[in-house]
């Protein structure tokens, strides 16, 4: 049985790779970009789910961590000529201005710096609980954004960075999404993961069991921020531009929607909903565009998409609080059980 499941897993991975190969050669650039965004949202969703879903810390600072990662990766990978063109107001500080790193080390550096930021933020903020933590992390995210806006010689301030190399492609984004997923699964099933879940269920009970609350919370927070930074780096090098306004609370809100819809505390749920949310965000764009029904044309209303989107969040949280998966995970057993059960369903036998 174990063998069979491994074969199923291998077949599905092969199918995904085949799909990506086909997509890479037959899809147009817009569709490829959406696929890339899906994979990036998987990384971001998983990183936020580790903090919010598995460890139960309500953190809203994700956009800030992403900004750190995106700026680090962008500055490190940008060719020297592009740097000179970008920093025409104040030149970039000395060692950085003629330094070009390959993509992967730059991404990891982005993740590490973001983890350092999380460590500095976490030291005071993780003493707080619940909604206080939410506000404090939200505030820190906002402070990071303000610092970026004002550090002209490092980040080019409010002008942002343009002509960042578009290194992110399907292989990078899906490769890193896959790596993140594997690391998350290993982490969640380790003793650390069990400690995280224990903290989520009941802090006081977890502490009585000998779990060092602060250490574990900090670990989840720092690892989450690391992957948020990597996700941010991927995003920056996918879009080709970054500016401080990209990293407003809206971004955190989008990721929050991904993990709420997928189920707080489910890895597979997050992956599924990252795809659903990203693709539906694009599909819902028709709400902003004029709609032609043949006999009548409804003029496009800008912003309608976000209205529908926030309504959906409220509906999900009121009526489907568990999201798609709750805290369950996808497994072949459940799929097989579902297939085997199906024929009996019609007959009504149990």
């Amino acid at each position: 049985m174990k063998n069979k499941k491994n074969i199923y897993t291998l077949i599905s991975i092969a199918l995904v790779i085949l799909f990506l190969l086909l997509a890479n050669s037959f899809f147009d650039s817009y569709q490829i970009r959406i696929l890339n965004l899906c994979a990036i949202y998987v990384v971001l969703g998983l990183s936020m789910n580790l903090i919010n879903g598995f460890t139960g810390l309500f953190s809203l600072g994700h956009a800030g961590f992403m900004a750190v990662g995106a700026y680090t990766t962008a500055i490190l990978t940008m060719p020297i000529a592009a740097k000179e063109a970008n920093y025409f107001m104040t030149p970039l500080v000395s060692p950085l201005n003629n330094m070009v790193w390959p993509f992967l080390p730059a991404l990891i550096m982005g993740g590490l710096l973001s983890a350092v930021a999380a460590f500095i933020i976490g030291a005071p903020a993780l003493r707080l609980k619940g909604d206080y933590l939410a506000i404090a992390t939200l505030g820190f995210g906002e402070i990071i954004r303000i610092l970026i806006t004002n550090a002209q010689s490092l980040t080019n301030g409010a002008l942002g960075l343009k002509s960042i190399p578009n290194t992110t492609n399907i292989w990078w984004s899906f490769g890193i999404a896959a790596a993140t997923t594997v690391i998350m699964i290993l982490l969640i099933n380790s003793s650390y993961g069990r400690a995280f879940k224990a903290i989520r269920e009941d802090e006081i009970a977890a502490e009585n069991m000998g779990i060092n609350l602060f250490k574990h919370k900090m670990l989840a927070f720092v690892i989450g921020a690391f992957f948020a930074g990597i996700g941010g780096g991927l995003l920056g090098n996918l879009l080709g531009t970054v500016d401080p306004n990209m990293f407003k609370f809206t971004l955190t809100f989008n990721i929050l929607f991904v993990i709420v819809l997928g189920g707080m505390g489910s890895i597979t749920g997050t992956i599924i909903s990252a795809f659903i949310v990203t693709i539906s965000m694009e599909v819902l764009r028709f709400l902003d565009a004029p709609i032609n029904l043949g006999f009548i044309t409804i003029p496009g209303i800008t912003g309608m998409r976000m209205v529908v989107y926030s309504l959906l969040l409220i509906i999900v949280i009121i009526y489907f609080r568990q999201g798609l998966m709750g805290t369950r995970e996808f497994s072949w057993d459940s799929v097989i059980a579902l297939i085997k059960k199906a024929p009996f369903k019609k007959g009504g036998a149990k």
Binding site: D131, G139, I146, N150, M264, Y309, I317, R321
Partner: protein, 297 residues
């Protein structure tokens, strides 16, 4: 810096602080009764400004009528947000209600962008408030004096309401314990709705005066004041009304004086509030006037 300029800054700081205080009271009341950060409070404040704007600019009604209507409408909006998005989640985990609150905040904000367009609008200037006074060498706009007075009057009314009326007693009872309050024959849902109504109406007063003070209004204007006033509420000790007022004044005065004394820190003005928040949470998490709450196992 001469004394006159300092006085000028102080006057500005006091009126800014009064505005923060008015909005912070709404946060503190809702938090006191539901243990919920009403993320939508900043958006409710923003809607009040738009209600007043349309009343004056589109319907051309006299400003005092418009202001009263806008305050009532905003109260209604706050109560309906509670009815639709918070009441169904009363027994849900706290994180769900918080997410729902974020959803409401986003919904109102985007609805405002759809309805009123994302472009800024100019809040009408009313002569009664824009007149200038000269006290010694300090020139002060009438509004700068009106704002603290209005805040003080409303505060007095609110404290009377909470301490001496039946509804006020009900509110304090619900804040202490929902179950016991219910057993004492208090309609918990009605009391919570009333709290939201009063909090939103105070935010509306703040919003209208904000519009008069900073006439550039847009649908995203509620975010920053919303966050800052929550910080003011935490600073003063969340759940305590006098604490919210003190917090609002500290924040308003601090911000204005920071920019006045250290001009090169102007870009960091918005960060000041957050730094203050972190400091207070580190050293006195219950705030200035807050009571120590021990966690029940």
């Amino acid at each position: 810096m001469s004394l006159d300029i300092l006085l000028q800054h102080l006057a500005n700081g006091i009126s800014q602080g009064s505005l923060y205080a008015l909005i912070a009271i709404g946060y503190t009341m809702v938090y006191g009764i539901l243990r919920l950060i009403n993320f939508a409070h900043g958006e409710i404040f923003m809607m009040a400004t738009y209600f007043a704007f349309f009343g004056i600019a589109t319907f051309g009604m006299p400003w005092y009528v418009v202001f009263i209507l806008a305050i009532l409408l905003t109260g209604l909006l706050g109560m309906s947000a509670e009815r639709v998005a918070y009441r169904p989640l009363r027994d849900a985990p706290k994180i769900s209600i918080l997410i729902s609150a974020i959803g409401v905040s986003y919904l109102i904000q985007n609805l405002a962008i759809v309805l009123f367009s994302g472009r800024p609008k100019a809040f009408p200037q009313i002569e009664f408030f824009t007149r200038m006074f000269t006290v010694g060498n300090v020139r002060i706009q009438a509004l700068t004096i009106v704002i603290p007075i209005v805040t003080a009057v409303l505060l007095a009314v609110l404290i009377y309401l909470i301490n001496h009326t039946k509804n006020g007693i009900a509110m304090r009872a619900v804040a202490k314990d929902h179950e016991t309050a219910k057993l004492m024959g208090i309609d918990v849902n009605k009391t919570i709705a009333l709290t939201f109504g009063i909090g939103s109406m105070l935010a509306a007063v703040g919003g209208i005066m904000w519009g008069l003070k900073f006439p550039n209004i847009l649908p995203t204007m509620g975010i920053m004041p919303g966050l800052k006033c929550f910080i003011a509420a935490v600073l003063g000790g969340i759940g305590s009304i006098s604490g919210a007022v003190i917090g609002g004044f500290i924040l308003g005065l601090g911000e204005i004086l920071l920019v006045a004394f250290f001009q090169n820190l102007t870009g960091y003005r918005d960060a000041f509030a957050f730094v203050l928040l972190i400091l207070i949470l580190l050293f006195k998490p219950t705030g200035i006037m807050g009571e120590k709450i021990s966690e029940k196992v």
